[in-house]
C-alpha cells in the first residue's frame, strides 16, 4: 500500500484569481451570456444543417457497413440537435443506443432495424417540418422497436 497525496486547489496554479473566478462564473450564468450564445448558434444553424445533410448522405451511402453506419450516426447524434434538427438527432441517438446495447449483448445488430433508422434519419433531416408531430411519432415507434429487439436479443 502506497501513501497517496492530496493536492488542494490552493497548491497548484489556477486559471484566474478567486475573485475573478467568481465574477466570471456569474457572467457565465447570466441571461445576457445565454442570449449571446443563442444568437451564435442561430447564426451557425444554416451551416450546421448543411453539415448534417452531408453526414446524412454519408450515412445512407454507408448502408451495409455497420461500423461506418455507427460512426456516421454517432456524428449526427453529436450535433444534429444543436443544428436545430431535433428529430434527426434523436433517431440517430436511438440507433447509437441500439448498436451499444447489442455490442454489450455480444450480438450483431439486425440489418433491417439499422436500415429503418437510416431511412428515418434521411426522411427527418429532409422534412420541412422536421420537429413536427410525425417526427415525434417516428422517434417513439423506433424506440419501441429497439426496446423490443433488445428484449429479444437478451439472454
Amino acid at each position: 500500500m502506497t501513501k497517496g497525496q492530496l493536492i488542494p486547489p490552493d497548491d497548484y496554479p489556477q486559471m484566474v484569481s478567486k475573485s475573478d473566478a467568481a465574477k466570471m462564473a456569474r457572467a457565465l450564468r447570466s441571461p445576457e451570456t445565454a442570449a449571446r450564445a443563442a444568437k451564435v448558434i442561430q447564426q451557425q444553424s444554416q451551416k450546421l444543417q448543411s453539415a448534417v445533410h452531408d453526414y446524412v448522405r454519408e450515412l445512407e451511402n454507408a448502408a451495409g457497413n455497420l461500423s461506418l453506419v455507427f460512426e456516421k450516426a454517432h456524428e449526427l447524434r453529436g450535433f444534429a440537435e444543436t443544428a436545430g434538427l431535433r428529430a434527426t438527432g434523436r433517431i440517430a441517438s436511438g440507433l447509437c443506443r441500439y448498436f451499444d446495447e447489442m455490442e454489450k449483448l455480444g450480438t450483431v445488430p439486425d440489418k433491417a432495424v439499422v436500415a429503418l433508422h437510416v431511412s428515418a434519419i434521411g426522411r427527418a433531416a429532409r422534412a420541412k417540418d422536421e420537429a413536427g408531430r410525425m417526427s415525434d411519432a417516428v422517434v417513439k415507434e423506433l424506440a419501441a422497436l429497439v426496446a423490443h429487439k433488445l428484449a429479444e436479443a437478451a439472454p
Binding site: K3, L28, Q44
Partner: protein, 170 residues
C-alpha cells in the same frame, strides 16, 4: 461583466469534427475568449500543449490516431506534460458507463454529453472556475479527486486503511 477576464484565457479545442470545433470556438468567442487553439486529435493536441500555455481543454473522446482518453492520460502523467493540472472537459456522445469511467480514470475534470448546449458548456466552465478540484497523486492515478461529494462529517466505514488520517490510498 466585460469580456476582459475571459480575454486572458487560452483554450484548446480537441475535436475531429470541424463543424463541432467551429461551434465550440464560436461559443467560446461569445464569452470573450479570444485565444483558441484547435487540434483534430490527441496527438496534435499534445504538440500544441507543448508550445502554448493553455488554461482549459475541451476534448472529444473518439478520435484517431489518439483518442481523448489517451490524450488526457498523457497530459496528466507524462513527464513531458507542460501543465498536468490543466482542466480537461470531455465533450462526447459516448456516454456508456465504461467509457465515462475510463475517461474519469484517465483524469478528466468534467463531462458534457453531446448534443452540446451553450448552457451545459458554460455551466461546466463555471464549475471549474468556482470549485476547482483537489488533485490526487498515487501509484496508479494522477488527476482530479474522483470523489465528487466530500462529506466533512463522514465517520466511516473507510474503504482504505488510514483514509481518515492522511488520505492513504492503495
Amino acid at each position: 461583466m466585460s469580456g476582459s477576464a475571459f480575454e486572458v484565457l487560452q483554450v484548446l479545442v480537441v475535436e475531429d469534427n470541424q463543424h463541432m470545433r467551429s461551434l465550440l470556438r464560436s461559443l467560446l468567442n461569445s464569452i470573450g475568449i479570444r485565444e483558441i487553439h484547435e487540434a483534430a486529435n490527441g496527438a496534435a493536441a499534445l504538440e500544441i500543449l507543448r508550445e502554448k500555455s493553455c488554461d482549459l481543454v475541451l476534448s472529444d473522446l473518439a478520435m484517431k490516431p489518439m483518442d481523448g482518453i489517451d490524450f488526457t492520460r498523457d497530459v496528466r502523467q507524462s513527464p513531458r506534460s507542460a501543465n498536468p493540472f490543466v482542466p480537461v472537459i470531455m465533450v462526447t456522445g459516448h456516454t456508456e458507463r465504461h467509457k465515462v469511467e475510463a475517461a474519469r480514470d484517465a483524469g478528466v475534470t468534467e463531462f458534457i454529453a453531446k448534443p452540446v448546449t451553450a448552457q451545459s458548456l458554460f455551466a461546466r466552465i463555471a464549475e471549474i472556475l468556482e470549485r476547482p478540484r483537489a488533485f490526487v497523486r498515487c501509484d496508479s492515478y494522477f488527476g482530479p479527486d474522483r470523489r465528487r461529494k466530500a462529506q466533512d462529517d463522514y465517520a466511516g466505514p473507510w474503504r482504505r486503511h488510514g483514509d481518515h488520517h492522511d488520505h492513504q490510498v492503495p
